[in-house]
């Protein structure tokens, strides 16, 4: 599945019925290849969050097709049976706020996902430690979330998003609470991880600092996406 990235075609989402119906998405097309990081930019009310929720298998689109690798997720009213399992095993999430589980330490916050998937605790923790090392935060493995800085928390959140090796990661404003230096560091990490694990990453952002780092950007306005090439500035 990792070899195909994520693709959507003609994705529509309508809220409500009759006269009060609102078309939040009016036929969105998007394709993100494995190892690619793309930006999704749009003003408030443009349909960004709705698109993210559809991509994250949190809400079902009204029409259109979505594929994850070779797997068809939605196809004009048809959908895979277990969206929860799909989210757990095939989609990683990184949020604006890290939303780490406050009562689990760093390792278990990351290891929780594989544990939920039935992986043995020791194996899940081994995978978590491996990722924490890759993200240069292994030294805080035993710390509780409240003891971490904002940047450290976001790196843990990225590790959690990656731990099940999902083919796609959806990052919702992952740099919003961070300063320029840390924001760019997070994007560099996402780029590294995308290349390393062949993961397709979609970053929803308003952050002017990081927009120039994307090679490809999707603009969304009034429920329709427009694709453009980004500057793709490499972060040192």
């Amino acid at each position: 599945m990792a070899g195909h990235g994520i693709g959507i075609a003609g994705l529509k989402k309508r809220y409500g019925k009759g006269d009060t119906a609102v078309d939040a998405l009016k036929g969105v097309d998007m394709r993100v290849a494995p190892g690619e990081v793309v930006g999704l930019i749009g003003p408030s009310g443009s349909g960004k969050s709705t698109l993210l929720k559809c991509l994250g298998a949190v809400i079902e689109p009204t029409a259109g097709r979505m594929t994850l690798g070779a797997k068809v997720i939605y196809d004009n009213g048809w959908k895979v049976r277990d969206l929860r399992e799909l989210r757990r095993d095939h989609i990683g999430f990184v949020f604006q706020a890290p939303y780490l589980i406050p009562f689990l330490d760093v390792t278990d916050n990351v290891a929780l996902l594989p544990m939920l998937a039935g992986v043995a605790n020791s194996e899940a923790r081994r995978r978590a430690r491996e990722l924490l090392e890759a993200l240069d935060i292994a030294h805080r493995a035993k710390a509780m979330p409240a003891q971490l800085s904002g940047g450290e928390q976001q790196r843990v959140a990225i590790a959690r998003g990656l731990v099940n090796r999902p083919p796609v990661i959806l990052a919702d404003e992952p740099t919003a609470p961070l300063d320029s230096k840390r924001a760019l560091a997070v994007i560099r990490i996402l780029n590294d991880m995308a290349r390393r694990f062949e993961t397709a990453i979609i970053v929803v952002t308003h952050d002017e600092k990081i927009i120039p780092t994307f090679k490809r950007i999707y603009h969304i306005r009034d429920g329709i996406t427009y694709e453009e090439d980004g500057e793709g500035i490499e972060i040192a």
Binding site: G56, V58, I101, L104, D172
Partner: protein
């Protein structure tokens, strides 16, 4: 899989611990209420056990001597003793009253016991200090709960008594400690009128020509003497011979003496089923209210704790956590809270039970029942929080 509930409890242990203590105090009160009821039943049974009787002979159509007043002539016991199956019979009086101890009053049940020896029905079956009554007047054996010591003097009506012996767990069905005094003294205390009343009665008798006849000078003195003498007792305690049938003996007494007779089972039914029934219902009502209050508190606490984790629950659902894992987390926390509360409640109930003025009997079976009730309450209380958690939309984690 790690225990999410356990980790949350360890992380916020202070919140759980102190909430558990609060709940534990409530559970402690509940267990104590159950203990008070058990204590009342045990007091009633102790009264019957300590009387040393197999049958209670009382005034006809009464539930005496404990539940209703009963009055019998004090020479009746002789006739009973001669009946087949009867090993021993002895008069007894019971009077609940305030007994003077120094400058304060002690609520006691004063029992007048017939002359005899240890083992006579009505006598305290054992002493923890001192000796039994040996004189006909002005000696007393007191339960240790009265606070009297050997050699203390206590006042009943106009007379002073010296405490010569102490006993333990000799209580009335109300839990009042008992004081044993000689029967004659007890009859006087129970039935004797005060001086003014005697004076008024004598004057009234003297003015009655039927009792004050010029030709019969001793008649008035005889009537006056009869009026001041008390010859009543409350009951006759009967012990039956080994091998004799209590029911048969009771039937013989009913038939030939035309008296009310109760056996042990009937007397227990009177005490537990009638005398303390209202108190038992009162306690049962209070227990139900406490259970409802406990359930409301647990439900509120668990609901509040769950609402405080809505964002985490949304994240857990978004990343694919099963509903049953989230429900189990909340359920386990509710049960853990109940467990902390129950352990603390049991400890405090055990420690404060001896300080109650009346006997509190904490029975292991009640504690076991309490544990299951607490667990059931916690499970039911957590349902509201589980419902709230399962309603959380994973999309809330994404926002927008």
């Amino acid at each position: 899989m790690i225990s999410l509930a356990g980790r949350d409890i360890l992380h916020a242990w202070g919140k759980f611990f102190f909430t558990g203590i609060g709940l534990g105090l409530l559970i402690g009160v509940t267990l104590s209420m159950a203990g008070i009821y058990r204590g009342m039943v045990d007091d009633a049974k102790a009264l019957l056990d300590n009387s040393g009787a197999d049958l209670w002979v009382v005034q006809r159509e009464t539930l005496g001597p404990y539940a209703e007043s009963s009055s019998l002539p004090d020479d009746l016991w002789r006739g009973l003793r001669g009946l087949p199956g009867v090993a021993d019979a002895a008069n007894v009086t019971y009077l609940t009253m305030q007994v003077r101890r120094g400058n304060e009053d002690v609520r006691t049940m004063v029992s007048g016991i017939a002359p005899g020896a240890p083992g006579t029905p009505g006598w305290p079956p054992f002493l923890v200090a001192g000796r039994h009554l040996t004189r006909s007047h002005y000696e007393a054996v007191a339960d240790i709960a009265t606070g009297f010591a050997i050699g203390d003097r206590l006042q009943i009506r106009r007379n002073q008594y010296t405490v010569v012996g102490l006993t333990r767990r000799m209580v009335s069905s109300n839990g009042d400690p008992m004081v044993f005094i000689p029967l004659k003294d007890a009859q006087e205390a129970q039935f004797l009128k005060d001086n003014d009343a005697i004076h008024r009665q004598r004057r009234s008798t003297a003015e009655n020509p039927a009792f004050n006849r010029p030709g019969v000078p001793d008649l008035l003195a005889a009537v006056n003497a009869a009026q001041t003498e008390s010859t009543s007792v409350n009951a006759v305690l009967v012990r039956i011979k080994a091998g004799a049938d209590a029911t048969e003996t009771a039937e013989t007494i009913r038939r030939w003496k035309r008296l009310q007779v109760y056996d042990r089972e009937q007397m227990e039914e009177i005490l537990v089923g009638k005398l303390i029934a209202t108190s038992a219902r009162q306690i049962a009502t209070f227990l139900i209210i406490l259970a409802i209050v406990s359930a409301a508190i647990v439900a509120f606490i668990i609901y509040t704790l769950t609402l405080g984790k809505i964002r985490e629950i949304a994240v857990l659902k978004l990343i694919g956590t099963k509903n049953r894992t989230i429900a189990a987390m909340i359920l386990q926390q509710a049960i853990a809270l109940g467990l902390i509360g129950f352990v603390f409640g049991k400890i405090v109930a055990t420690f404060w039970a001896p300080h109650f003025p009346k006997y509190v009997l904490l029975m292991p079976l009640d504690s076991l029942r309490g544990f299951f009730v607490v667990t059931a309450i916690c499970v039911l209380s957590s349902l509201i929080a589980i419902h709230a958690a399962l309603k959380v939309d994973p999309a809330e984690a994404i926002g927008g």
